[in-house]
Structure formats: C-alpha cells, structure tokens
C-alpha cells in the first residue's frame, strides 16, 4: 500500500490486515509507556484545510505514539490564509522530506493531487464529499470487536447521505466485509441512483428494527441553507434516532460531532448501545495501523539520488 486515498482502492484482505495490525496497537495503549520507536526519525505532516477535532487529534497522537516527528498545520493561521495554493504548500512542505502527509480538504480529489506532487505517502483524512477512508476503517474495527464478522449483518446508514463522505466510504467498506447496507433519509438527501452500488434505499425509518447496527450521520446544518429539508424540526420528527426507534439489541454509531436533539436524541447518545466513545478510541489505534502500514511495511521506492544544484546557477 503506497497511499490511503479511498476505501474503494482496498481489497478485503488489505482491510483485514490493517484491522489486525490495529489490534496489536491496542495492546500498546495499555502499557505504562504508550509509545513505540517504530517511526523514529521519520516526519509526518498533518495538513487540515477543514475543521476537525477527532481526526486531526488522533492522527497526530498516532504519529507521536509511533515516535515520528510531527508538523501540524491548519489552514487558519498558516500561509494558506495568505493565499498560498495547495500545490505551493506541498512544495514547501516537501523541503522537510516528510514520510507521510495526512490531508483533509474541502474539495474531492485533493489527496489524490497531493499524492501526485509529493514523494510522501498520502493519507486522505476526508476530501470534500468523496471519501473518508480512515473513518470507515475505524468503524469496521469497532464493529469487528463487538460483532465479530460483518457477514450478513444489516446496517442502516441514516441521515444526510448526499453530503457525507463518511456515508460513501462506509457503504463501500461495510459491503466489502459482507454486510447488507440500507441508506435512509429524506429523498433530497439521498443521491439519485445510489442503489446501483448494491445497497437498499429507504425514505423513512419504517423497517429500521431489522438493523443490527444503526449508523446515524451528522445533519450538516451549514449546508441546510439550500433547503434540502423543510426545517430541522421536521427532519428531527421524521428521522431522529431516539429511544423509541432504537431497539435494545441494536448498536448505535455516529462519526461525530453529534447534534444532540437533531439526528440523535440525547438519551440514545448516552445509552449502553452507543458505540460512539468506542469509535473515538478505535480511531487512534486504527490510525497508528494506517501509518505503520504505509511507512513501515517496506514498500517504498528508494528516493532518487539528486545532486545539489550549485547556488547561483540556474537549475
């Protein structure tokens, strides 16, 4: 594996290898000294053009626990504020010879572009409405610990599927592991024709009791100015997962941050069926496994030997 850009690029056995690896990092987290020297001397850049709490925090902690040196950049407060292009920022950062670049960007395909511009291994930490592969992997890891195999399990993904990269990555990931996926939400928030990916579509919560897992998506309030839904109140009335709709044998997941009282009621967030806190814990070990897989599995081309250009002469 050279980069992690999309779940779509991964075979099932590659996914399982990462989950197995994550299991051994879970053990590291139980030690007195929760750090291993594996990536000593390697540099990891984390480059976030969108706000993030758990993704950036867990990638950064993952890099530190593997003893890598970390440069952490947020768009706000860096040269991006001054109008530097993504390509120029990458060229600048390349001067530090990073082994990996973890990037989140509002435009789909940004990680792919960076992979073309840089020698580093690139991890897509979310690109526009495209994919969020590390989220899908940590969700698989969380479910595997609770359910064992996903083969034949029914998973409902509920909410704003249209704007959600998590929905896209998780749909592909859950199906790759053998689960049957239903996408559920108001018609304006479900992309037309998505059934062609092999999932079922439902425009109401009727039938959700069949689900083994209910995966709620965040209603992206900032995108709701374009009247995809009549009102947040009406959305909540029809699609909120609350204690009446969530059965006692169903697991609840959510990628965070939760809008309490919108897509989830407060009581289900804090219920024993909620795996939301476990998802966050899984995020750390799965992201350690991703960095290990990319940087320590030996599949790197040797860097080209470059003679330095003498100063004062054109290159």
């Amino acid at each position: 594996m050279r980069h992690l850009l999309a779940i779509e690029d991964l075979e099932r056995d590659e996914i399982e290898a990462i989950l197995d690896r994550a299991e051994s990092f879970a053990e590291v987290g139980r030690r007195d000294i929760k750090k291993v020297p594996t990536l000593r001397g390697r540099t990891v850049v984390s480059l976030f053009y969108e706000s993030s709490t758990r993704t950036s925090a867990s990638f950064e902690l993952a890099a530190k626990r593997l003893s890598a040196d970390l440069i952490s950049l947020k768009a706000a407060g860096s040269s991006v504020d001054k109008g530097e292009s993504l390509k120029d920022t990458c060229a600048t950062l390349s001067a530090y010879d990073p082994a990996a670049i973890v990037i989140r960007h509002p435009y789909a395909g940004a990680a792919q572009l960076v992979a073309g511009w840089s020698e580093a291994a690139v991890v897509n930490a979310g690109d526009g409405k495209h994919e969020h592969p590390s989220q899908a992997l940590l969700d698989l890891f969380t479910l595997r610990r609770r359910l064992g195999s996903l083969e034949g399990r029914r998973i409902w993904i509920v909410g704003d599927v249209l704007h959600s990269r998590v929905a896209r990555s998780n749909l592909i990931a859950f199906q790759a592991m053998g689960a049957e996926v239903t996408l559920c939400g108001p018609p304006a928030l479900i992309p037309r024709g998505i059934e062609q990916l092999g999932c079922t579509v439902s425009y109401s919560l009727d039938g959700i009791e069949e689900a083994d897992v209910v995966y709620a998506l965040r209603l992206q309030k900032e995108r709701m100015a374009e009247s995809f839904i009549p009102s947040i109140r009406e959305y909540a009335a029809r699609f909120q997962i609350d204690s009446r709709r969530l059965g006692p044998r169903q697991w609840l997941m959510h990628p965070g941050p939760v809008n309490r009282g919108v897509e989830l009621s407060g009581e289900v967030v804090d219920s024993p069926q909620s795996l939301i806190a476990e998802q966050v814990a899984s995020g750390l070990v799965v992201r350690m496994a991703i960095l290990y897989e990319l940087l320590a599995s030996g599949e790197r081309p040797a860097p080209a030997e470059q003679a330095p250009t003498p100063i004062g002469q054109p290159a």
């Binding site: 197995d20 690896r21 299991e23 051994s24 879970a26 053990e27 590291v28 030690r31 007195d32 000294i33 750090k35 291993v36 020297p37 594996t38 990536l39 593997l66 290990y292 940087l295 320590a296 599995s297 030996g298 599949e299 790197r300």
Partner: protein
C-alpha cells in the same frame, strides 16, 4: 538441500530441563522471578521453561511474551513479503523489582535481544534481566552474552539454524542447513 540434525527430540527436552534447573538455582527467590518469551518460538520455549521451573520451585511465576516488531532497527528495509506477522505482546504483571528471564530460540547478532530489552522497559523497570537461549550460533554484532545456553552451535553466516517445536511445527528438533540460495 542437506539438513543436519544437531538436537533431537530427547536432547532438546533434556536441554530445556537443564536450563530450568540452572534458572531455579541462580534465583533463590523464585517469587521475584518472571519469564518473558520473544515471539514466536521464544514464547513457546518460555512456556515450557515456565512449566518446568514451576515444578521445581512450586512458586507462582508470572509469564509473558513480547512481539518486537515495533522495535526493530530494520523497519522499512524489508520487502513486504518478509514483514513479520505482528502478534500482540502480553506482559500483564508488574515488572518492578523482579528478575526477568528473557527467552529466545536462537541467539545470533543480538539485535532481537536489543529490541526485546527496549520493549521490556516500556512496561516497567525490572531489577535485573537475564537471557536464556536454546542455541547460541555466534556472529554477535552487539555486546550480549546469554546467562543460560542450551547448546553452542558453531555456524557459518551462510547457514540457517532451524528450531522446530511441537506446538508450532509438530516436531521437536534443531537442525542446521545451508541458506536456500547463496549467491555463488
């Protein structure tokens, strides 16, 4: 490819029993002892030694195992196919004040032992660390000397030492063979 048997089943078992006696004799306070094996076959040998020492001393001795993949000094330098399978380590007792006997199957360059000691110290601060190996084949690259040795095996660098154990390989033996493809 010719393979020479250097320890047969009974020799191997007798050797382990002797190491167990030596460990018990060198540690008059068995309650402060702990055994830690290095994956994969070191962990198997550690379990056997643990059982034997348990019989000799009648003490409850903690046992653990270590996977040293994250501590190797050649990470990234191996081909993907040669990547070791990573097992989780299990050291769920307090190391403080104990004598830890590290156990491995073959002692060669000493790099594995270096990594194992680094790994061990991430779990706590043992009072003393000793090293027990089934075979010492020489060619050290680091200054280590084992405290308990099953058999000294003079080898050429090009040779391979194969330790096979019933738990993992269905037979108990140690053999020496020429490495598969030596460049002529």
């Amino acid at each position: 490819m010719s393979e020479k048997v250097v320890l047969e089943r009974d020799d191997l078992r007798r050797t382990l029993r002797r190491i167990a006696h030596e460990i018990a004799e060198a540690n008059p306070e068995p309650e402060r002892l702990a055994i830690v094996g290095i994956h994969t076959r070191g962990a198997v040998i550690a379990r056997r030694l643990h059982a034997l020492i348990g019989e000799l001393t009648e003490a409850e001795i903690p046992i653990g195992d270590l996977d040293i993949s994250f501590y190797r000094d050649d990470v990234g330098a191996r081909s993907p196919a040669a990547q070791p399978v990573v097992h989780a380590s299990h050291v769920d007792f307090d190391l403080g004040g104990r004598t830890i006997v590290l156990v491995d199957d073959v002692l060669f360059t000493g790099r594995t032992v270096r990594a194992a000691i680094d790994a061990l110290f991430d779990y706590g601060r043992p009072q003393r660390v000793q090293l027990a190996v089934l075979c010492d084949r020489g060619h050290r690259e680091l200054p280590f000397r084992p405290d308990y040795v099953g058999k000294n095996l003079p080898t050429a660098r090009s040779e391979r030492v194969n330790v096979r154990l019933e738990e993992t390989d269905e037979v108990d033996e140690v053999t020496i063979s020429e490495a598969a493809e030596v460049a002529a």
